[in-house]
Symmetry: D2
Subunit: 151 residues, 4 copies
């Protein structure tokens, strides 16, 4: 498999088989080492502040953490040369978030939300990503920064 | 209503009527200005890393953000003197997370999880809380720090 | 005094009379509510890593915290209407950093450094700023985010 | 050299030869893998808020970053088996802060300050430390969390 085939395979895996991401309704729409993105639709189940009909802060942090993890994983995968499937799965299972910061800027309101991520520090062991959450009108809802173990 | 009655009322409200907290399965077990706590049980739907059967990082961040919000809100409520119900609801609806940091320390494995929070900086406008996530065996899974608008 | 005169006065005060900023060699070069900036020159006294001749991480965090404080203060000052000097000083003396995050991206090397800041969340009580540190060649050394009490 | 001799040597090096730490007046008083500590005395040069005679926030962040780096480095050094001096110096020169969070809790006032650090996540590549700053009366001034590259 070449890099693009591996990325497609990993993306399908993460879209179909990560239970909590399915429950919240995330769909990965971009998955590469430069930029990764996911989308999800408003559902009443995602509310935290009911009087104001806003997303729960945990939905926002989950979306940002996931988007940052995607771009960190895409970078790691892109550096592998012709890995076996078992080696690929082992590398994926060892990736994880070390720390996360979320800055909540505006109320989480909208019909659809896009979480996007880019890498600001890359390395063989640790990657740092910067993330943003916007709604369908481009309103900027939150910033995030995550440090990920990829080694 | 005295402070304890208000706290009980707000706690019931948050246990029953915050959709995303119900979906993840949070139950508030302590709600006061000194310390607040919530519990939730393992469910396969909460997994992020399937090969390792670990909680999604977003479940951890949601639990920590919620626990920190609880202790910040309990502090705000405790300082109100005999508020009307409508004033109380208005104050609650204006509370929110300003920023959150999560440090992931150990794999999120267990049958039950406890997120607890204490206040490290209190004020009329802004409160800062420190949070921890443990499993049923006392294993320390994550640290968190949150800054909350309570004014 | 109009807003621009007040900003100039506060900027002069902070350039001349904040001891630690003088010790590190900061010079404020832009001070307004949209963007604020400071510069400082390399000095051997600012080194942390001697074999690699890099800035101490504390110099970087000091520069970012200061730049974020500047833009938060400039925003607060710009919203005052014709304040007396004593009221202005009282408001300034109550401003402070609530929390700060610094992401170290590249080695702190160069002959001159520029720390710049913009506001990402503004309010009467709390402002959140995003900061960057670059060297004279435009190399991006660090990101920062700070939450400031301005009320 | 055994581990204790190496730690003593590294501690002396860092007390004597890190310019910015000397300028601020840090003295390392504990340097091991369980807990590390530094002290410094009040000097007017360290002020940020002059009317209130408080430490500059950058002094606090520098002290916390340094204390966290100490405990991370002590852990790394303790895992080396009989390293040559050149290998030890090479390892030290590659250590650095990845990210730092500081929570400012109370005004930085006092005659002497102690910054202490413990490890909350350890690894061969990355260590996470939690730090605290207190004054000579035990007043808790700030919390910090730092992620350090040690690999």
């Amino acid at each position: 498999m070449d890099t693009q085939q591996i990325l497609t395979k990993v993306c399908d895996y993460m879209n179909d088989l990560v239970p909590f991401q399915r429950q919240v309704g995330f769909e990965i729409t971009k998955f590469n080492a430069d930029k990764s993105e996911l989308k999800f639709r408003w559902q009443d189940e995602l509310m935290g502040n009911v009087p104001q009909r806003m997303l729960h802060g945990g939905v926002t942090s989950t979306a940002l953490d996931t988007a940052g993890g995607l771009v960190a994983i895409a970078g790691m995968v892109s550096r592998l040369e012709n890995p076996s499937e078992s080696y690929l799965m082992e590398r994926l299972s060892r990736c994880g978030t070390i720390d996360l910061r979320v800055d909540y800027l505006r109320p989480g309101r909208g019909s659809e939300f896009i979480a996007s991520a880019t890498i600001i520090r890359s390395g063989n062991k640790v990657a740092v990503a910067r993330m943003e959450l916007h709604n369908q009108e481009g309103m900027h809802i939150a910033f995030g920064t995550g440090t990920y173990l990829v080694g």
